[in-house]
Symmetry: C2
Subunit: 321 residues, 2 copies
């Protein structure tokens, strides 16, 4: 048996590959089969991570296993979908049992946390990269899209921003920090928690939503474009963690929140009438701006002055979200 066939058997035996609700046929045939309940639709998203581009090479395979799945599942959260399954296309330069074992353990932890089953994929030889395709179910017509924002809606985010961007110099070994600072930042980078429950709670309430992968300003640009509206972001309202402020200073922390990537926190627009109930229910919602008529994204200071970065390069500074 070739080593890549061994890998396939290895993944087929992984805890996360032992089926789940909605999985009619898992790994081992030409296709997997998913059952979609009556009245629901299947949400699908694909993400590729390339070594040396999207993550340092070498890196801890356990952490990579967690992160690679979390990044993909976050797109399901952004649609308000309930995760069902995923496929993994793994390209490896060489086969190392230790690496595979650690990677699969990380994958399993995140799969269990998100409630998704591994149902198929492909394993090939080549430069290290991973493509995850994730599947979720969502009641027909209730998925959260990017295109429904209306002038007057609040712009909200589901948690602190910028932690993953703050972690990047630590990940790359460019800086060091005390554990009390480094740990929460690195945890956010390596093990982002897709906001699945929040996404599902926002169904029928949020007018538009996405998960922040390119930085708040750039991603607000996606909502503004799809919804044909303008969005005002208020710099003074950005939720940033104490660890990030200690590490980067207040200005640096806010910059990371605005333009850093990899947060995988939800950003969404909310008709004002919906906000009090959601806050009362304890959802971690921070109002950071407003939807207005017009187009594009504007950054405001505490006095309402336009302090939008002149280059506007932030909108597309990342080539490989």
């Amino acid at each position: 048996m070739g080593e890549f066939e061994l890998i396939r058997n290895f993944f087929a035996a992984a805890p996360c590959a032992q089926g789940g609700e909605g999985v009619a046929l898992g790994i081992g045939d030409d296709c997997a089969l998913l059952a979609v309940p009556l009245g629901e639709q299947l949400a699908i998203s694909t993400d590729t991570l390339v070594a040396g581009v999207h993550f340092a090479d070498p890196c801890d395979p356990f952490l990579l296993g967690q992160r690679s799945l979390a990044v993909a599942v976050s797109d399901l959260a952004a649609m308000g979908a309930t995760p069902v399954a995923f496929t993994l296309a793994l390209t490896l330069p060489t086969v190392t049992a230790d690496w595979l074992d650690a990677y699969a353990r990380g994958l399993n932890v995140m799969a269990q946390s998100c409630g998704v089953a591994l149902v198929g994929g492909d394993t090939t030889r080549g430069p290290l990269s991973l493509t995850m395709t994730v599947f979720g179910r969502v009641p027909a017509g209730q998925a959260l899209t990017r295109s429904g924002a209306q002038p007057g809606d609040w712009l909200c985010v589901g948690g602190e921003l910028g932690n993953a961007a703050g972690a990047l110099p630590l990940v790359l070994g460019q800086r060091t920090a005390d554990e009390a600072i480094a740990d929460p930042l690195l945890r956010h980078y390596w093990s982002p928690q897709p906001q699945l429950a929040l996404g599902q709670a926002l169904r029928g309430k949020a007018s538009a939503a996405l998960d922040i992968s390119d930085g708040l300003l750039a991603d607000c640009g996606h909502i503004a474009l799809a919804s044909k509206v303008g969005i005002q972001v208020e710099r003074s309202k950005l939720p940033v963690s104490q660890a990030l402020v200690t590490f980067l200073g207040q200005t640096g922390a806010e910059d990371a929140a605005l333009s850093g990537g990899d947060d995988y926190v939800l950003a969404f627009t909310l008709p004002p009438v919906e906000l009090p109930k959601l806050l009362a229910d304890g959802w971690p919602i921070h109002v950071v701006g407003r939807v207005v008529s017009g187009q594009g994204v504007v950054l405001l200071d505490a006095d309402g002055h336009d302090i939008t970065p002149q280059t506007r390069g932030y909108q597309h500074f990342r080539e490989t979200p």
Copy 2:
């Protein structure tokens, strides 16, 4: 706008990305949404092709576009599924407009031929590789799996075998041949036609099925293992093309049919009672062997003698199917 964002817009504008039956939401949001009709299940398969491993680099991007999608859709044919949609994760070292344009044209031709819509994906920078995930629908409980073969069933294939393997030395520039020989072989390699109609016709009739990607013997091994049966393949019954025989000789052609890869022709097992009607309906079915009790695959000559290759290495000689 970054060049990779331009690529995404480019694919979003492609003819095959303009939606289709069952596509509730296509490219451009966090997820695509598929509607699955009542009583049907969703069949899913993922295939990765890596430059220099699964195809020559450089190669004709138009032909690669056709082939990369056909290889993936062939797994839907093997399940008896009706194609609905696909996602494309494309990793490119550099962005070349001519390459992309030609690749997308090839992709469109095959997408139109197979009736699938491009609904999402990812485009990243890195060593050239492609991961396709394809989606089809199939009546619940009627998908063709590998696990139902019964002793007494015929082993059948849906067309000539070995043409793609015969084409390989032409693709790699190791040999040349007259157009009359080269053309049909290369056509089979670069533009395999997933046997979708045959797969659908076999629903409720074939006891097991798959598409031949690793060579007939190796793939029969997959059916034998999943069905817990033995399979006898008769060398004298292999359907091989005149072009292949002229190019490789009778023995070489049969070897290519047995052990060459990339045929993407269906192999299936059929209770004898089902055969006459299917033949009468004109389906291109060739009986090439028999399912028996026992395990493993045995190759027989015209006199019924066991001529199974001693190495049995054929079963796993390809590490990256």
